[in-house]
């Protein structure tokens, strides 16, 4: 089973038509991601990485080529089937967190369960949401609303939400884009920990130092993959965190 890629793009192209102009966002990309991998998709804006992301996250379908998610051909699914796939197999983490305001962390995490086809009772729902929050270290903040949480905490709620339905793949779109460097490393630590437990993580980022926490970097330019290689000396979030904290202490002590 493990030899089967969880994400498989075959000659994937995406073309947008805006007015009379055709925009070739992605031009014939093939990519396979095995279960348990931690991949960063990188590139400048306009490189096609967001389009890749949207397709991998089943928000969109290929114009041509095939996309197999866990063996399912996404191109042949309709809108509702895509929604179901997103619900069960994908966990999204966004740059802007995208939590529902004036809604408690717990209820935010429960959201995907609400739309799950095999729904569980509301008590069971709460249990699962709480367990998911504990996994990201926010078990005690379950009743807090997003505006009562820091950016890092909000992103952790978003990760808990992504995890609650037991997805195959965690899809993160610039997850550290709105966070300071320390919090970014914390978030990367969570991803690394989840990855260690076997979760496949695909992350889009344009920050090189963030990409160094992953195992594999895919670099895109003009809708094509220009490099795809293992990360040579991968950063460990826990160790980096220690380092940053020491540095900060040093700065504080210096004057």
């Amino acid at each position: 089973m493990d030899t089967q890629p969880v994400i498989k793009l075959e000659n994937f192209s995406k073309t947008y038509v805006t007015g009379e102009v055709e925009v070739h966002a992605v031009r014939g990309v093939s990519l396979a991601i095995m279960p348990g991998e931690f991949v960063a998709i990188m590139g400048a804006s306009g490189s096609g990485k967001s389009t890749m992301m949207n397709t991998i996250g089943c928000l969109d379908r290929p114009t041509s080529g095939r996309y197999l998610l866990d063996g399912v051909d996404v191109g042949e699914l309709d809108r509702d089937e895509l929604a179901e796939l997103r619900n069960h197999k994908i966990g999204f983490v966004f740059q802007g967190f995208n939590l529902l305001s004036r809604t408690s962390a717990l209820e935010n995490v429960e959201l995907p369960l609400l739309y799950s086809r095999n729904r569980v009772g509301s008590r069971h729902q709460r249990e699962r949401a709480l367990k998911s929050l504990e996994l990201v270290g926010l078990g005690t903040r379950a009743e807090h609303h997003p505006n009562q949480l820091s950016g890092g905490q909000q992103q952790r709620v978003a990760i808990a939400r992504a995890l609650v339905n037991g997805p195959k793949v965690l899809v993160a779109d610039e997850p550290t884009g709105n966070l300071d460097s320390l919090t970014s490393v914390e978030i990367m630590g969570i991803f690394q920990e989840l990855n260690r437990q076997g979760m496949t993580v695909v992350m889009v980022t344009h920050e090189l130092d963030i990409a160094r926490y992953t195992q594999r970097n895919v670099v895109m330019r003009d809708g094509r993959i220009v490099s795809d290689q293992r990360v040579p000396n991968r950063l460990e979030a826990a160790a980096e965190l220690e380092k940053i904290k020491r540095e900060q202490q040093a700065v504080q002590l210096a004057p």
């Binding site: 929604a83 995208n98 959201l111 739309y115």
Partner: protein, 405 residues
């Protein structure tokens, strides 16, 4: 199963913006309230008319004399004295299915007793009259066939007349003078209250029609007969028989207009209630317009809400909400708005119809029917005006929605 959760989401979204929610509902509240109040006024008027027509008696058939035309103008029924005593006798003798028939002669005359006197409606009637009108006697007896035949000077007093002339004393056996002619009071009528036109029906004196014609009016023809059929089923048949008989007796040829009119109580009541029905429909539809305006208000706010919450919709779509989940969410929100408005409006409508009947003295009748219709209508308005915004939300592209600023 998802319905309950969706209801909770809708409830929360509406609570979040209380003032806006209230203002949005206001249109529906006013609309439903107005419909309920207006229809209650219309229904009240109709019920009043019906009650008064029922006072005429049961299965009553009115026979009105002549609709003469002078120079092409019809002068209205009851104006020409085309009904004779012979007509009366013939109907009485030949028409089957009648339980009673009585001529009616009306005149105003001064009625006096002792020092008291009053200008009162004098009705010359037959012995059947009080039965036809289902007008019981409070005291004394009806006058007899003998009294009618011999034009005896006997009278039955209405409640008001009796009180005016005799105060609290029992009038039976006493003498009243009508146009100076002494009449012996044999009976006292039970109170009947106000008529449709707001006149006191109890200010009346009944005398045998023969006496009235001989001593008071001097006429020889009648303006109308009151007849009563034995059962409601017999009414049309009796009506036909009377019409045929009178046409024959008055020698009216084929295709010529009748010089009389036979009206059943049913027809009279239909005419009267159709007027008040028109009023009800008119008032109701004016109020209904405000309901539609309220619906447009809901649509407006729902459209704003969908735009405001585009990102939320995007998130929901991203985590696996299907189009119909989003559709349902916004539809339920709109329906909740309109239903809540409808319920408050029903309360307001009942309250204002109460106030109207207390303050203005109008009879109002809040029917269960109008409440149920108003409730269903406000739900329908929610669905109708909520559908377009909800559909707009449901068809959003998840990528665009997530990127929406």
């Amino acid at each position: 199963m998802i319905l309950l959760a969706t209801l909770r989401i809708a409830g929360r979204a509406l609570r979040r913006n209380k003032l806006r929610t209230l203002l949005t509902m206001l249109g529906i509240i006013i609309g439903v309230g107005a419909v309920i109040a207006m229809v209650s006024i219309g229904n009240g008027a109709k019920a009043q008319v019906e009650a008064q027509i029922a006072q005429l008696g049961q299965n009553v058939i009115l026979i009105l004399s002549g609709n003469v035309s002078r120079g092409g103008f019809h002068m209205g029924f009851g104006n020409a004295g085309t009904l004779t005593h012979e007509d009366y006798e013939a109907i009485r003798r030949e028409v089957s299915g009648l339980t009673g028939i009585s001529p009616e002669v009306r005149t105003m005359a001064q009625v006096a007793a002792g020092n008291e006197n009053n200008n009162t409606q004098i009705m010359g009637v037959g012995t059947d009259y009080i039965n036809i009108r289902s007008w019981p006697l409070a005291d004394g007896v009806n006058f007899s066939e003998q009294d009618v035949r011999t034009a005896n000077k006997v009278a039955i007093l209405g409640k008001t007349t009796a009180t005016t002339l005799f105060g609290e004393d029992d009038p039976v056996g006493k003498v009243v003078r009508i146009k100076s002619a002494p009449f012996i009071v044999v009976g006292l009528l039970a109170s009947k209250g106000m008529s449709m036109m707001g006149m006191d029906q109890d200010d009346v004196v009944f005398v045998p029609y023969t006496s009235a014609m001989k001593r008071l009016t001097g006429g020889t023809v009648f303006r109308s007969f009151n007849a009563q059929a034995a059962s409601p089923e017999l009414v049309p048949d009796v009506q036909n028989q009377i019409t045929e008989l009178l046409r024959q007796r008055h020698r009216i040829g084929e295709g010529k207009d009748d010089d009389f009119l036979v009206r059943t109580q049913q027809e009279i009541s239909e005419m009267a209630t159709s007027t008040s029905r028109v009023m009800t429909v008119l008032l109701g539809s004016v109020a209904g317009v405000s309901l539609i305006v309220g619906g447009i208000g809901i649509m407006n706010i729902m459209l704003v809400s969908v735009t405001e919450r585009t990102r939320e919709i995007g998130v929901r779509l991203a985590v696996g909400a299907r189009s119909r989940d989003i559709l349902l969410q916004f539809l339920i929100e709109a329906v909740t708005l309109s239903l809540a408005g409808g319920i408050i409006g029903i309360g307001l409508g009942i309250l204002s119809s109460r106030l109207l009947s207390i303050q203005m003295g109008w009879k109002t009748l809040v029917s269960v029917e109008s409440i149920v219709i108003a409730f269903a209508f406000s739900a329908a308005i929610g669905v109708f005006f909520g559908f377009y915004p909800a559909r707009k939300a449901a068809l959003l592209d998840p990528i665009d929605a997530l990127r929406y600023e």
